[in-house]
Amino acid sequence: MANARINMPATAKRGEIIEIKTLVQHTMETGFRRSYLGVPLARDIINRFVCTYNGVEICRVELHPSISANPYLAFSTVATESGTLVFNWSGDNGFTATESASISVV
C-alpha cells in the first residue's frame, strides 16, 4: 500500500473554507525515458485523483506525466458538516491508494 499523507484541519467552523494538501508516493514514470541500456521505460503514472466529502465528490484531478514524482495536490473545500473525507488515487498497472480523514464542523 502506497504511502499517502493528508494535511488538513481536524476541526472547522461551518462555512469556513479549508485548505487540503495531499501527497502520495509514486515515481510517475513518464514513459518518455529510456534506461542506460537504451530500453524504453514504460509509462507508469497516477492519472486520477478523487476526493469525496461524506460521499460527495468535491475535487477531481486528471494527472499527466508532467506532474512531478510523489504528486502533491492542494485544493480547498467549504466545511459544510462533520464527517469523513476520502481521498483516492488510481493509475497505470492497477495502482490504487486510499486515505481518509475526519473533520469535525462546529
Partner: protein, 726 residues
C-alpha cells in the same frame, strides 16, 4: 501624464526598470520618450548595457561571470568597440539576477560555461554598444540641430564635421537615454576593429594584485556569523543522528543545525570555531547501499561494458566490426581515465541573509541566474524578495556552474538565524569529497589495416559514466548521452577530425553512484587521450610517422589539419630534435575551436619527465583578445597536465579518499613548460577559448613519452606508474 524623476537608490532602479520594461512593451504613449533607467548613482542608462557618467566614465554591464578566464575584459572590449568610447574610462558592473528577472533578461543568459561567454553573447553585446553609440550621436545631433550623419565619434567624443563642434558622451548621456533605441543597428566590419583583436590589458588584474579584490570566501558583512558543513561522505547517504550537546558549549558556537536530510552544519562567531566544533561533533550517518562501492568494483562494472552487446552510437559510417574482423592486421588497446575533482583554489562558499521578507545571497557563481533559482527554492520566497550578488570566483572550472548546492545550503543555514548574515565556507576536505567529479570511463579501441597498411576500420567503445543522466536527464536523447562523444562526433562543434572508411564510436553507459559534473573540457579530456594516443599506436603499427599517418586521414578536415600543421611546423617536426628531446602530437575540435599541440619532453633514467616546451595552435574563428587567449592556453595546460600526471579521486567504502592537496597534487611553477601559442583565427565562426586547448596537452605529452621510452601508458594518472613531472 507626469514623469517622476526616479530616486537615486537601487530599489527604485529595479522598480523603474520593471516599469520601463512593461511600459514599452505595452506600447504606452509616454511623452518625451521612455522613462530613464538609472544606475545606483543616478547616472543614466543609455541602453541596458551601457551607463555613462557625467565625467565620461563608461560602465559596461556584464552578465557572464569572470573566473580568471578574462571574459569580463573580452565582453567589455566588444561592447566598447561598437560604442567607440575611451577605453581608459571603461569600468564594468554585474547586473544581478534579480534585476535580470525584473527586466525580462535584458542582458541575456548569465551562464558561463561551455566556453560560451564570448562566442554566444558577442552579437548582442556588440549591438548593445552600437545602439548606445547611435543614441549618443543622435542626442548630440539633436542638440546641435544637425543631421546625425554629419557627426563622427571616437574615444567618447562626438564631432560635427562641417562645423567642428565637439561634445562628449558624458554631456549627452542624459538626453541620449531618452531616445527610443533604434532596432537593428548594423555592426562594424571585423576588418575595421580597433579594440577587438588587440591584446588589451585586463580590467581586473590590478585589484587582484593589490589584494583589493574580494572573493566569496573573503566577504565580511556587519554582524556576520560563520558556518561550515559536513554532508554524508557516502553519496546518497543520510544523517541518522548527531549529538549537538557535545559541542554546544564550545567557544563561539551559536547553533548546530541539520541541513536537509544529508548534512549537518555548525554556526559560530568565527569560521575556525565552527570547523573545530564540527570536527568534534559526533555524527551518525545512515550510509546506505553505496557504502559498498569501491574503485575496484567501479572498474569491474566499466570493464564489462567494453564488450557489452548494447551501446549508444555516437558516430558511425560503414561497417567497422566487419572491416576489423577481415583486416590483415589488427591493433587493440584499452585505456582508463579516473574520477577527478575541480579542486578550485577557493572552496565552495556562499553568504546568505534570510528574513521572511527578503533573502540575499553573496557568492561566486558561474551562473547568477542558477544561483538565484537555488535561492528561490531554498528560501521559499518569491523572486521579488530575493537577490544574489555575484562576487568573483576563485576558480570555477565547471563546479560553480551547474551545481548550487552551496547556495542552497547557505540559505537553509541562514534560515536558522533569521536576520543575520551567515557565511558558509566549506573546508578543503569537504570540497575534495563533495565534488561533482569528472566522470570515470574506460575505452577499448580496435583498428584494422589492410595489407597495404591503410586503416580500414576503427571501433572506439567507451564504457563509463554519463554526466547528463545525473545532471540533466531531460537532455538525454532516447537514453543516450550526447556529451559522451565530445570530440568524436560526425559534425558540429566537436567534429571528429579524421575520415575513416568504417567507423564505429559507441558508448556502453555505466553509472556509478559518485556524482558527476562538468570538469573543464568535460569529455574531451579523456576522448583526446583515447583517440590521439591510439592514433599514434596505429601509426606505429603501420610503420608510419605520426604526423603523416594523421595527414592521410584529414584531407576532408582542412581546419583540423591547419592547426596540426602549424604546431608541427613550429616545433620542427621532421627535423631532428635536440639530444634527449622527444616530440608528440595531438589535435581535436572542441567547443567549435580547432586545437593542436606538439610537446617536447625529455625523460631521465628514473622516469622523471621534463616538458621542455609545448607548441599549441588554436583557431577560434575570431580572437577578441589574443594575449588573453595565450594565457588561457597556458592556464588550461596547468589544469590538464596536473590532472594527467597527479590527479585521481579513488573510491573506498562509497566515499572519495583524497581529502587535500597532499594526495591530489598540482603542477608548480618550476614544472611549467614553455608554452608557445599560435593564435590563428580563420574567421567566419566563433569558437570557444576557455576549454578546447586543455585536451591536447596530455596526449601530446603521452605520445612524446612513447617516443622517448617505447612505453605506452594507458591508465592515469601517471604517478601510478612511477612517472613524475619535474
Amino acid at each position: 501624464m507626469i514623469i517622476d524623476t526616479p530616486k537615486i537608490s537601487r530599489r527604485s532602479f529595479i522598480i523603474g526598470s520593471a516599469a520601463i520594461g512593461s511600459g514599452l512593451a505595452l506600447g504606452m504613449n509616454i511623452p518625451f520618450g521612455p522613462r530613464v533607467a538609472r544606475a545606483a548613482d543616478g547616472s543614466p542608462e543609455v541602453t541596458a548595457w551601457v551607463v555613462i557618467r557625467p565625467d565620461d566614465t563608461v560602465v559596461i554591464r556584464i552578465a557572464r561571470s569572470e573566473m580568471g578566464q578574462g571574459t569580463l575584459t573580452g565582453l567589455a572590449q566588444m561592447c566598447a568597440e561598437e560604442l567607440e568610447c575611451d577605453w581608459s574610462k571603461v569600468t564594468t558592473e554585474y547586473p544581478t539576477p534579480g534585476q535580470s528577472v525584473a527586466r525580462k533578461r535584458a542582458w541575456g543568459d548569465f551562464s558561463t560555461g561551455g566556453s560560451r561567454g564570448i562566442r554566444e553573447s558577442h552579437e548582442y553585446v556588440r549591438k548593445g554598444g552600437a545602439t548606445a553609440r547611435v543614441m549618443l550621436v543622435q542626442a548630440a545631433a539633436d542638440a546641435w540641430k544637425v543631421p546625425a550623419a554629419e557627426c563622427s565619434v571616437a574615444n567618447s567624443v562626438i564631432t560635427h564635421g562641417p562645423s567642428g563642434r565637439k561634445t562628449t558622451f558624458g554631456a549627452v548621456a542624459e538626453a541620449a537615454s531618452r531616445i527610443t533605441p533604434p532596432k537593428d543597428v548594423p555592426l562594424k566590419d571585423p576588418k575595421t576593429w580597433k579594440l577587438i583583436g588587440k591584446p588589451i590589458k585586463r580590467l581586473d588584474t590590478t585589484d587582484k594584485l593589490t589584494g583589493k579584490q574580494i572573493y566569496g570566501a573573503d566577504l565580511t558583512l556587519p554582524g556576520m556569523l560563520n558556518a561550515t558543513i559536513k554532508e554524508c561522505p557516502v553519496f546518497g547517504g543520510k544523517v541518522k543522528s548527531f549529538d549537538a550537546a557535545k559541542v554546544a558549549g564550545m567557544k563561539g558556537v551559536k547553533k548546530v543545525v541539520q541541513v536537509g536530510d544529508t548534512a549537518v552544519a555548525v554556526i559560530a562567531d568565527t569560521w575556525w570555531q565552527a570547523k573545530t566544533a564540527l570536527d568534534a561533533l559526533p555524527i551518525v550517518w545512515d550510509e546506505g547501499e553505496n557504502a559498498k562501492v569501491s574503485s575496484a568494483s567501479i572498474a569491474d562494472l566499466l570493464k564489462a561494458g567494453l564488450d557489452a552487446d548494447q551501446a549508444f552510437v555516437g558516430n558511425q559510417n560503414g561497417d567497422a566490426k566487419t572491416a576489423i574482423a577481415g583486416a590483415a592486421k589488427r591493433v587493440e588497446a584499452v585505456y582508463a581515465y579516473p574520477y577527478q575533482n575541480h579542486a578550485a583554489m577557493e572552496p565552495m562558499n556562499a553568504t546568505a541573509r534570510y528574513t521572511a521578507d527578503k533573502c540575499e545571497v553573496w557568492c561566486g557563481t558561474q551562473n547568477g541566474e542558477a544561483a538565484f533559482a537555488a535561492t528561490l527554492t531554498a528560501s521559499g520566497l518569491p523572486a521579488d524578495k530575493c537577490e544574489v550578488y555575484k562576487l568573483l570566483l576563485g576558480g570555477g572550472f565547471g563546479r560553480r556552474g551547474a551545481f548550487h548546492d552551496y547556495v542552497r545550503q547557505a540559505v537553509l543555514v541562514a534560515k536558522q538565524m533569521p536576520g543575520v548574515p551567515v557565511k558558509l565556507l566549506w573546508t578543503r576536505e569537504e570540497d575534495m569529497t563533495q565534488g561533482r567529479y569528472h566522470p570515470v570511463t574506460q575505452c577499448k579501441l580496435v583498428g584494422g589495416f589492410d595489407a597495404g597498411n591503410n586503416l580500414t576500420g576503427l571501433h572506439m567503445r567507451i564504457s563509463g559514466q554519463s554526466i547528463l543522466t545525473a545532471v540533466r536527464p531531460e537532455a538525454l536523447k532516447d537514453g543516450a548521452d550526447p556529451a559522451t562523444f565530445q570530440g568524436v562526433v560526425p559534425s558540429g562543434e566537436f567534429e571528429f577530425g579524421y575520415s575513416v572508411p568504417n567507423l564505429l564510436i559507441d558508448h556502453a553507459m555505466r553509472n556509478p553512484h559518485v556524482p558527476p559534473g562538468f570538469w573543464r573540457g568535460v569529455n574531451i579530456n579523456q576522448n583526446a587521450i583515447y583517440i590521439e594516443c591510439f592514433m599514434d599506436e596505429l601509426a606505429q603499427a603501420a610503420g608510419q610517422d605520426a604526423l603523416e599517418f594523421r595527414r592521410k586521414l584529414m584531407a576532408k578536415h582542412p581546419k583540423h589539419l591547419a592547426v596540426l600543421n602549424a604546431v608541427a611546423e613550429r616545433a620542427g617536426w621532421g627535423k631532428p630534435a635536440p639530444q634527449g628531446v622527444f616530440r608528440g602530437l595531438a589535435q581535436m575540435k572542441a567547443f567549435n575551436s580547432y586545437v593542436a599541440a606538439c610537446a617536447e619532453i625529455s625523460v631521465s633514467g628514473d622516469n622523471k619527465v621534463k616538458i621542455q616546451r609545448i607548441v599549441c595552435a588554436t583557431d577560434p574563428g575570431y580572437a577578441v583578445n589574443p594575449a588573453q587567449i595565450e594565457r588561457q592556453i597556458a592556464g588550461s595546460f596547468v589544469y590538464g597536465l596536473s590532472a594527467v600526471f597527479d590527479q585521481e579521486c579513488t573510491v573506498k567504502n562509497g566515499r572519495i579518499e583524497q581529502t587535500n592537496f597532499n594526495t591530489y597534487n598540482s603542477m608548480r611553477i618550476a614544472q611549467m613548460p614553455k608554452v608557445e601559442a599560435i593564435v590563428m583565427p580563420s574567421g567566419g565562426f566563433w569558437g570557444g577559448v576557455g576549454e578546447p586547448t586543455i585536451c591536447v596537452a596530455a596526449p601530446a605529452v603521452l605520445n612524446a613519452y612513447f617516443a622517448a621510452t617505447g612505453k605506452r601508458i594507458r591508465s592515469f594518472p601517471l604517478k601510478n606508474h612511477g612517472i613524475a613531472l619535474v
